[in-house]
């Protein structure tokens, strides 16, 4: 933390930034510190203010209140073309009347870099994204992934202190997207440039980032490493947004160490992120991969049991490296269980199974009104 307090190239700070369109907040009391060379993702559902945040950094929107500092200096009043940041736009926005090389050279031309150096740096940038052989083509003749690479080269060739990426992989198909994720991450660690990466895809954010800021309705709800975000979501919103969850409504007992409802009781040995009052309504969550299945014995106990619920195995889906099992439980929505392929239990569809989990894997959140 101390590092980022120093004014350093590539550090980004947003202090209490708010932006309203008409009467509604697009971004609200936004506080964020990005360290130099960090790969930080803004993750959240569509319309939560990610693009607006990015546009305030690049200078295309002006915050109503608050302050933005890039490399330690306030950028208030600086137009986009005077900021030491570059953007990779969602739709790439390549200039259709210029060749690939000319597109990449555009930023350097604006800075009146000498022609020899432009030629060299454009070549290097195209080499970096493996597009040298396409230098003379028109952007219209390129595939989506190739255009994406050119857009990246066009931004990086300027050696900005911060690179902003607005859902850059959103338009690519899955396989290409996964390849580009790896490439982007490698590039970023090689170059050491601060990346602020906007996405609504939680897998993408978790797999690429040093830290993830989960946003909802214009605010950051959690800012943590991908690991912590996944393992320890601080609210039901984050828990539901990141990965799959099995949610259980219930009433809290023992400050949230026990959650009861008419079908099942859940005990939790985790530290809660919020204080939970007895007898308050809560939401308990259990990840699919922590739920294990056994064939239920016939002399089933019909009462309410602890960390265990019975149902009928309704479907088995093979997802490549994992297997997802859906269990239908009378009186509530389905329960999802996930196993890695090699560990999947050999149970047929239609069997009555009992799902169980450990109290280490139960998270408890107060029920708030703004949940999905």
């Amino acid at each position: 933390m101390k590092d980022s307090d120093r004014a350093e190239r590539g550090a980004v700070r947003l202090v209490d930034v708010s932006k309203r369109f008409d009467q509604t907040f697009a971004v609200r009391s936004f506080n964020l510190q990005v360290r130099p060379g960090e790969f930080l993702s803004l993750l959240g559902p569509s319309g939560c203010g990610k693009t607006t945040t990015l546009r305030m950094l690049s200078g295309f929107e002006t915050p109503d209140t608050g302050e933005i500092l890039i490399s330690g200096k306030s950028v208030a009043g600086l137009p986009p073309y005077k900021r030491d940041v570059n953007t990779v736009f969602q739709a790439y926005a390549l200039f259709p009347h210029m060749s690939v090389a000319e597109n990449v050279s555009y930023g350097l031309m604006q800075k009146h870099v000498a022609r020899g150096e432009i030629n060299r740096r454009v070549g290097e940038a195209l080499e970096m994204v493996r597009m040298v052989s396409f230098a003379k083509r028109s952007p219209k003749q390129l595939s989506g992934g190739q255009q994406q690479r050119v857009a990246l080269a066009r931004a990086l060739v300027n050696q900005p202190s911060v690179l902003l990426l607005d859902e850059p992989l959103g338009a690519l198909d899955r396989k290409l997207r996964e390849e580009m994720q790896i490439e982007l991450k490698l590039l970023q660690s090689q170059l050491g440039i601060t990346f602020i990466f906007v996405t609504h895809d939680q897998e993408e954010a978790l797999s690429m980032s040093d830290r993830v800021a989960v946003m909802n309705e214009g605010e950051i709800v959690q800012l943590d490493t991908p690991d912590t975000i996944y393992e320890d979501p601080n609210s039901a919103f984050v828990a539901g947004f990141i990965g799959q969850q099995n949610f259980f409504n219930g009433v809290a007992q023992e400050q949230g160490r026990l959650v009861t409802n008419e079908l099942v009781n859940l005990s939790s040995s985790r530290k809660h992120s919020q204080i939970i009052a007895n007898e308050s309504n809560v939401l308990a969550s259990v990840r699919p991969e922590t739920i294990s299945l056994q064939v239920a014995d016939n002399a089933a106990t019909h009462g309410v049991s602890l960390n265990r619920i019975e149902g009928e195995l309704a479907s088995i889906a093979h997802l490549g490296d994992s297997v997802q099992l859906i269990i239908r439980v009378p009186g509530r929505s389905e329960i999802i269980s996930k196993y890695s392929r090699s560990d999947a239990p050999n149970i047929g569809v239609g069997t009555t199974v009992s799902c169980s989990w450990s109290d280490l894997d139960v998270h408890v959140y107060p029920t708030s009104t703004n949940e999905r």
């Binding site: 295309f60 137009p79 986009p80 953007t87 200039f95 090389a101 454009v122 040298v132 003379k136």
Partner: protein, 271 residues
């Protein structure tokens, strides 16, 4: 068209016939290019070129403003306003200007009221009046293609340009204008070509001083009944228009190559 070309080599046999083509010659062209008529041709070109330029200088900023600054919901209002004059007859709205510009008309009144002009307004029947009428009559033909082209331009491209360090002016010249150039060319041609042949605007607002080639040709056909000379003049006018268009077209092509050459990138790495 071919008849006109053919007639232009004929002659006017006597007072009572409009055309004879038993002897073909270039005589009518000599006449058409003689100094009196030549002056009219040059005057016409000058009015058309200035008119086209003025239409562009007014039309482009307006179309830009409309497509960039005005929210989409309010654009139809402005487009309708531009088109309202087109609902009335060309002649009628030009005559309308006569009323406005009359020595004691509304403009004179306003200028007088503002203290800018005290004596009677003497705009009417001058080249200035013709120029004004021309801009008014042809501006929509410039604005519409420009607006369509600008409206289709992805605003993200302008942002990308600014993001890469280009200011407003550079963005205008390096991204916006090159990308809307088909619209610009369409607008220029749409104004220049009909304007060069226009005789109503000049006749109504210019009086004797606003004599334009279109009017001259009209006179030869319908007043002097000299179809041969009229045809020759028409051919000269068409050739002149073609020459001007070609001239500017060449300049545009050369300019484009120069721009291409200046922004070229030669990679040091072997491709």
């Amino acid at each position: 068209m071919l008849w006109i070309l053919f007639y232009s080599f004929g002659y006017k046999p006597d007072l009572y016939h409009s055309i004879a083509t038993d002897r073909l010659s270039l005589g009518q062209y000599k006449l058409a290019a003689s100094s009196t008529f030549f002056q009219t041709f040059m005057g016409t070109l000058r009015i058309s070129l200035t008119g086209t330029a003025l239409c562009f200088l007014i039309g482009f900023p307006f179309a830009y403003w409309l497509s960039v600054r005005v929210p989409p919901s309010r654009r139809p209002i402005f487009l309708a306003l531009i088109l309202i004059p087109f609902w009335t007859n060309f002649l009628v709205r030009t005559i309308g200007w006569r009323i406005l510009l009359a020595p004691s008309g509304i403009f004179a009144g306003v200028l007088h009221f503002l203290g800018l002009h005290s004596t009677a307004l003497e705009v009417l029947d001058t080249r200035g009046a013709v120029q004004l009428g021309v801009v008014y009559n042809y501006l929509p033909l410039m604005i519409l293609p420009l607006y369509v082209a600008l409206d289709r331009l992805d605003p993200g491209l302008r942002e990308a340009s600014k993001d890469l360090g280009a200011g407003r002016v550079r963005t205008l010249f390096k991204v916006t204008i090159p990308l809307v150039s088909p619209g610009i060319i369409a607008g220029l041609l749409l104004v220049f070509i009909p304007l060069s042949g226009d005789f109503i605007t000049a006749t109504v607002l210019g009086g004797a001083k606003g004599n334009m080639a279109g009017r001259m040709i009209y006179d030869q056909f319908l007043v002097a009944q000299n179809w041969a000379l009229g045809s020759a003049m028409a051919v000269v006018l068409i050739l002149l228009i073609a020459a001007v268009v070609l001239f500017f077209g060449l300049i545009a092509i050369v300019g484009r190559h120069i721009i291409r050459y200046r922004r070229r990138v030669e990679l040091a790495i072997a491709v």
